[in-house]
Amino acid sequence: MGLALLLIIWLITFISTYFFVAQTWWLPHGVSAAAPWIDHQFALTYVLMGIVFVAAQCGLGWLVWKHRDGASNKPVQYSHGNTTLEIVWTTLTAILFVGLNLMGSHVWANERFEPAAAGAVPVEVTGMQFAWYFRYPGPDGKYGRTDAKLMDPSAGNEAALGLDTSDPAAKDDVVTGTLYLPVGRQVDLTLRAVDVIHSFFVPSLRFKQDTVPGLAIHMHITPTEIGEYEIACAELCGLGHYKMHGMVHVVSQEDFDKWLAAREAEKQ
């Protein structure tokens, strides 16, 4: 049984590790300024944890086989432990874990402690059961008033957000169901939700943030490659949670300006 255990544990370890190393199913290609940093920290973590994983599992398997009853006639070593060893491995573990965390903390600080830089592209993201809407504040740079009483989800876009068209600032607001962003520029996102908690998750941009009713959360991202990236809702929001997806189109600055101008024109 000792040998069987060793083989089972080692096999499970090697098969699991293989798929991690081969990256058979992996994070998608990252297309934001934060992605290389996040991926670097991720790699550091999985290499270190991977070493611990393999060492611990193989150690376990080997120990139960080596010290199986009947393997040798050596007497059992009567021992209550080894305090020095305890202190050593406790300290090393603490240094490893806390050190790993501190190394990644500057990435978190960059992403979340600082607000968006001046000149960032403002976009408001609103989640509702079960669609995403995106609002551009237009040339005046101000988001117009919305009013809960004016909300009509079945009418889509402006009406879904309850845009109060009597507000002058709202007249140039563009609301769409697809998020267009210019490549290489920082985006100042304002995240809102209308009914329950949703979560705006774009795996390729390495971005996720819960959208919470009653809050307008500011985040920033910088897309770095032109392409189309999917949005998936990442917080259980009701029966349509699985189909609450959308698309982010990252295009050149030119194309973005053209697109936005076309949307503004449609409003007239």
Partner: protein, 577 residues
């Protein structure tokens, strides 16, 4: 004279109702909890089977259950999580085994408050009945997940199942809170006040330490959950706005104003994080006990193990924010919580090193309880090492609310903690029922379950990294998820096999009660006090006398001793502590 008749005599009861239904005997109550958890785990497993089938064949019409609509899937997963976390993982390891063996292992004749003990079981039972009834009311069971985030859980019109079903869910949990608090009260008072002569705290078996610290966690955490649930009931039914700000559901403006969804998350996770340590600590205690017993070697670093249990308990109260990194909580708080979370990995690592140290230079015997204890260590390592990923907020960005998290907590709770329950069952079965469970069936059960659970839950990490979000009732709507379906299919087939293998355990359990080989009083040659008494133990546990203890609980292979084990109540031999 002050006492005439022995008013408080705990003589053995007569009659079926007093003996088996409203028993005051902690052993019967322990078995009642255990069998309640057994029923619950099979209900929970059945729900997960339906879930796995639906994910791969979303349009299938199943016999008995019919078609599973998206909202049905969500209510299946809500009830699966709730039943498993509360009625299996909080019940069997602590209330089941703890009730049965804590008093015996500390040399007491019963728990401190037997009537309260009986009440706490029946309250738990009522909570379970109310929970399951949610399936059968109009609207069905709630769909807000076992975490019940507001406003989804606070709004009756936010989805099917969110009317009476959700109210029943909250009520059941509230009643469960009360039952758990009663149990915790008993465990703590018993441990502090009923230890027999010579049983100092530092001579208690690690199982007792685990039950004791787990009870403290429960004592401090369940009151907060109760308050959170009451606030939720008020928001749902009486128009208050604790959790709900101004919201519009399906075009309808609701009457709430100014509430905070994050308030629910803080209150829930303040309970929820200690809860997961409640689920795992007893299994750790059992593993320590079994590794020592079946390696014929004292546990490596008993004191460190005790401090590690305490460390996990204390730190468990200051890490709840790591469930909320993406919630909109302050990023500075997130940083603080993440440091504390990394720190809680340290006592867990200490325990793992010490388990390995126990086996090292021991003499391992591969009885079924030992197999599950070894399996526990392997699964704890696997499930635990995905923790440092999630503990870092910046890595939580891609991983939060994906299958990576689902894999993490299933390996730890859904497998390792369950292995702790299996280990305890195979180990203590002879003491509880007077017979041995079948070894061959036990081995088959172990091998299939170990491989099967790895096959189900290890792939979840890959899925999570690839961006597969959780609580999706199907994967057909999001383009980047469709290529992950084959891996999900593999997991479903693994689930079929693994769930089927549990029937082997079930058969073994009940068959052995009647036809198993008769057990001696101490078939494992173990040292703790439950093995000093008859099998099964008499009504007052020790047959009219109270034991006295002379040394620590894991005196195996003491040099110069006649046998390779020295029982705690044996005055002969080296006094190690």
């Amino acid at each position: 004279m002050a006492t005439s008749a022995p008013v408080h005599a705990h003589a053995a009861p007569q009659g079926f109702i007093r003996k088996y239904v409203f028993s005051l005997d902690h052993k019967i109550i322990g078995l009642q909890y255990y069998f309640l958890a057994l029923v619950a785990v099979f209900v929970g497993m059945f729900l997960s089977l339906l879930m796995r089938i639906h994910l791969i064949w979303p349009t299938a019409v199943l016999p008995l259950v019919g078609e599973i609509k998206p909202e049905t899937y969500l209510s299946l997963l809500t009830m699966h999580g709730t039943i498993m976390v509360f009625f299996v993982l909080t019940t069997a390891p602590q209330s089941g085994f703890g009730n049965y063996f804590l008093p015996i292992q500390i040399g007491a004749p019963d728990m401190a408050f037997p009537v309260l003990n009986m009440l706490s079981f029946w309250t738990t039972f009522v909570a379970f009945v109310i929970l399951v009834s949610a399936f059968f009311v109009s609207g069905g069971a709630p769909l807000h997940g076992w975490t019940g985030y507001a406003p989804l859980s606070a709004l009756q019109n936010a989805g099917p199942g969110q009317q009476l079903g959700a109210d029943l869910w909250i009520t059941s949990i509230a009643i469960f809170c009360v039952a758990s608090l009663m149990g915790a009260l008993n465990f703590i008072t018993t441990t502090l006040d009923l230890r027999c002569k010579g049983m100092t705290m530092m001579r208690m078996p690690l199982t007792c330490w685990a039950w004791f610290v787990t009870a403290i966690l429960g004592l401090l955490a369940f009151g907060v959950l109760l308050s959170a649930g009451i606030l939720l009931l008020l928001d749902r039914n009486l128009g208050t706005s604790f959790y709900v700000p101004l919201v519009v559901v399906n075009g309808q403006v609701m009457r709430h104003r100014g509430g905070s969804p994050l308030l629910w998350q803080h209150l829930f996770w303040f309970f929820g994080h200690p809860e997961v340590y409640i689920a795992i600590l007893p299994g750790m205690g059992v593993t320590s006990q079994l590794l020592s017993t079946f390696s014929r070697k004292p546990i490596f670093g008993y004191k460190a193990m005790v401090y590690a249990i305490m460390g996990i308990g204390i730190l468990g109260f200051v890490v709840w924010g790591h469930h909320m990194f993406m919630s909109g909580m302050s990023p500075y708080s997130a940083f603080a919580f993440s440091i504390m979370t990394m720190l809680i990995g340290v006592p867990s690592a200490i325990k793992t090193f010490n388990w390995l140290g126990t086996i090292h230079n021991g003499r391992v015997r591969f009885y079924t309880p030992m197999l599950f204890a070894i399996g526990f260590v392997s699964l704890f390592v696997s499930g635990g090492l995905s923790g440092p990923f999630l503990a870092q907020p910046v890595l939580d960005i891609p991983l939060h609310d994906t299958y990576f998290v689902v894999g993490h907590f299933h390996l730890i709770m859904g497998v390792a903690a369950i292995f702790g329950i299996f280990a305890g069952t195979y180990y203590w079965f002879p003491k509880m029922f007077g017979r041995m469970m079948n070894e061959s069936l036990g081995r088959v059960h172990f091998v299939i379950t170990l491989i099967g659970t790895y096959a189900i839950f290890m792939p979840m990490h890959y899925l999570g990294m690839a961006g597969q979000t959780r609580r999706y009732s199907q994967f057909t709507e999001v383009q980047y998820m469709t290529h992950l379906i084959p891996l999900q299919t593999f997991m479903t087939y693994a689930a079929f096999i693994t769930i089927a293998a549990q029937l082997i355990f079930l058969f073994n359990l009940f068959w052995s009660m009647f036809k198993g080989e008769k057990a001696s009083d101490n078939p494992w040659h173990a040292t703790t006090l439950e093995w000093t008494t008859t099998t099964p133990p008499p009504h007052d546990n020790f047959g009219g006398h109270t034991p006295a203890v002379y040394h620590g609980p894991y005196e195996y292979s003491v040099p110069g001793a006649a046998k390779d084990y020295l029982m705690q109540n044996d005055p002969a031999g080296v006094a190690a502590h």
